[in-house]
């Protein structure tokens, strides 16, 4: 441990107790993950489906690609929007690790912005000029978007591993690219990518089943559901294997700290593993999603729950990685309770505003001269 390389805590102190920021970091990261799965996994799945369909939107797989990217036009915005909050809270709790990690790979971290811009606009180009709008083509834009988001995932995993291992900063300083050689790098990246594709495929299945059962384009929706469901199944199979591998590859001290942590760490970890295996069992039981809408909905709910629990486990893993360093200091706390309360009130009001706006929009359909 090169303690001298870890910057000092900010003298301003924490504007609230540490536990509060830990909770906020996990909760907002979970929200971000929900949309991020759609952005990363949805775009990758759309690219796969698009090319499997030969770039035609009259093929069910092409229609699936169109649907996913239609959602992503909005989903990417919401991914970024929900990503702002955990980015804020990580800077409060772990600024000395986070900033140092990003500076160590500054060029790549800065390129993150470029990748995001290119990925986002490529997604729009596909939506407005590719298969969804014109019926065929646009694969290049879709592929570009998928590659950009995949590269962004790689950057994020690298930053995460760098910031969690200050004892290795001295090595990283002479060539931060060696973070790619970290034994957990690829399994960790794969964990996110598979989760993304699985979640996006599951959402697509759920929507297609819902539409088919409502009598809308039954044949098309049945085919989309069948295709997407197979992706849910296979990504979950590989995910369970990858998850176990990732667990085994964790540094010994981190793994033993998980075991020593008692219920606080073992309950979420065990629950996450059980949920993963449970998901696999639920998915494997269903040959035709259209015939089992209840299980499809249940699987979707279970997957959201799994993501929530995994968010906790991931946060705990970070805390355990950093334990040798974080035990050396104590945060100075200068709480701003009034400001926190104000934030909570405004958050509730803001969400209520969004909720009532959405309700109003859904209950005010209009066409022709009556429409806006």
């Amino acid at each position: 441990m090169h303690a001298d390389l870890i910057p000092a805590l900010d003298a301003a102190g924490l504007p609230g107790p540490p536990w509060l920021f830990h909770v906020l970091l996990v909760v907002t990261f979970f929200l971000h993950l929900l949309f991020m799965n759609l952005t990363l996994g949805g775009t990758l799945l759309a690219a796969i489906a698009h090319f499997r369909a030969g770039g035609r939107s009259d093929d069910p797989r092409g229609a699936l690609a169109g649907r996913l990217m239609a959602i992503n036009g909005y989903g990417i915005s919401l991914t970024i929007t929900t990503g702002v909050a955990p980015l804020l809270f990580i800077q409060v709790l772990y600024q000395q690790y986070f900033y140092t990690a990003t500076i160590l790979i500054a060029g790549v971290w800065l390129a993150f912005l470029l990748l995001l811009t290119l990925g986002y606009y490529s997604a729009y180009l596909y939506k407005f000029r590719g298969a969804p709008a014109r019926g065929r083509g646009g694969g290049l834009w879709l592929a570009a978007s998928a590659v950009m988001f995949l590269l962004m995932a790689m950057v994020n995993v690298a930053v995460h591993l760098l910031h969690a291992q200050p004892e290795r900063w001295a090595d990283f300083a002479s060539g931060a690219a060696c973070v790619l050689l970290d034994p957990t790098y690829l399994p960790r990246l794969l964990h996110f990518v598979l989760a993304g594709i699985g979640a996006a495929a599951l959402l697509a299945t759920w929507w297609a089943v819902r539409r088919a059962r409502a009598g809308v384009e039954v044949e098309l929706n049945a085919k989309i559901a069948g295709f997407a469901w197979r992706w849910v199944l296979w990504t979950t199979v590989v995910q369970v294997v990858d998850g176990v591998l990732l667990l085994l590859l964790l540094p010994r001290p981190v793994l033993s700290a998980f075991m020593r942590g008692g219920a606080a760490t073992m309950v979420p970890l065990t629950l996450a593993i059980l949920l993963g295996v449970g998901l696999l069992v639920m998915i494997a039981r269903v040959a035709s999603p259209l015939a089992s809408p209840g299980i499809v909905s249940g699987t979707l709910a279970a997957m959201v729950l799994t993501i929530a629990v995994m968010s906790i486990t991931r946060h705990q893993a970070r805390a355990l990685y950093l334990e040798p360093s974080t035990t050396l200091y104590q945060h100075v706390v200068a709480p701003q309770w009034f400001n926190f309360a104000l934030w909570v009130v405004l958050l509730v009001l803001g969400l209520a505003t969004v909720g009532s706006m959405v309700r109003r929009v859904l209950s005010s359909p209009a066409t022709g001269a009556d429409a806006a």
């Binding site: 909050a85 804020l88 600024q95 209009a366 806006a372």
Partner: protein
Amino acid sequence: MGYPIWDLAIGGSLLMALVAIPHVIVSHFAIGGGLLIAVTETLAVKRGDRELRGLAKRSSLVLILVSTVFGVISGVGIWVVAGLVSPGAISTLIHTYVWGWAIEWVFFVVEIVAALIYYATWNTISKRAHLLVGWIYFVGAYLSLVIINGIITFMLTPGRWLETGAFWDGFFNPTYWPSLVLRTGICLMMATAFMVFPAMRTAAAHRDRLVRYLGWWMVAGALVSYAGYRWWEAVLPDSVQGLFRGAAPALATLAATRHFALWALTAALVVAAVILLARPRLARPATAAVLALAAFAFFGGYERLREGARKPFLIHSHTFSNGLQVADIAAVNERGVLATAGWGARAAAADPAVTGREVFRAQCAACHTLDGYQSIRKALPSVADVLAVAADDPPGSGARAFRARCAACHAGVSFDDMRGVLPSANEVRGDPGMIRDLNQGMITATLVKLRGMGAAYAAADRTRMIDTSALPSPYMPPFVGTEPELGALSAHLGSLADDRQPRVAMRGGE
């Protein structure tokens, strides 16, 4: 100061400007656009005006493609860049204002969701519901400005926060309200500048009417901006105003920026009044481009002025632009700058010869690159400079060289005075080492002077904004560190000035 330093050829401040300027233009457009589009659609519904509706609809496409995509990404970009080039300062800001940013995030969520719904529901929901979404968008967007304005203005005029450390004392600081008025005007100007383009695409029979309609908005925006600007300037402390106002402003470039910004605002107002309002028929795409350029120039000029007027601080009277806090000067002087910059200390421990380079990176690299933006090498006297002054061949060239290379640091010294103390050209040619020694002496003397400023800062009343105008270099942070560190930095800078030494790489300090 304990963070590793990112060596960037173009310099951190320039990178920040490259990301921040487009962001502020787009984000202000997003706010002003929200108001203009909501008002425009409201008028269109009330009057049954299809052209106004068309203008609102076309503008909303720009709003979503530019604001919710580029605006959002570049907004995150500012944090990314700030974390890379000024981690200490952004950390202090976030620890002080995390709940402010969290509140802004709430408004941001409302704004983004409303923007996405607004664009997607043209022709599909009732007029009233659509108007409601538009107005919710504007309110969310404007409230995010209400919040972020407090944090931005805090950095220049922290006000009573310096004394109390209280969130709201810093938030509602002396420039908060003037800046809010100014930015409100800028929002209107940015939005109008953008919306003139879609207005030009309206059918010829209605184009003049819409152009004139936008003209009123532009004139209103320019007048509100001007009022806000003058108010902002008036509430700045004299020491800050002295940097760019008065008969002898301390920073001539900032004074020039101020003139540029105000002339740009005048140009925007004149074009809006003469063409958009009085002669809308003369409006062409080029007119819209000129209007947009003038509005951007004013805004960019103001932002440059605001950033420059904060020199040498990131948070006025609290944190210098290199991350050093005023409160830490005495401790750093005693322990050494490398003792607080572990990354630099590690490099220096491995090779003592690079101590000066590491001190440079910790103290100076936040503002100076080696050969790029604010090049430190160009700021240092070289043998060639001294030779040019001493030789004065052809006659007159020495005085020009003196004005270009020496006068900034030797105020009150004439060309003849300088020639009087310099060796002759032949002596310089015969023994360039003598000039290196002379340079080294000048560099050391400058550093000693900068170090002396540290004592003045340390002794200053930190519960009030520090008046830097009486200091020898009012826009530069002091040098802090031990005597050996000062010597090492001086030697490093001296080696940079010596043209006969092999040039080091462009990347700062490497």
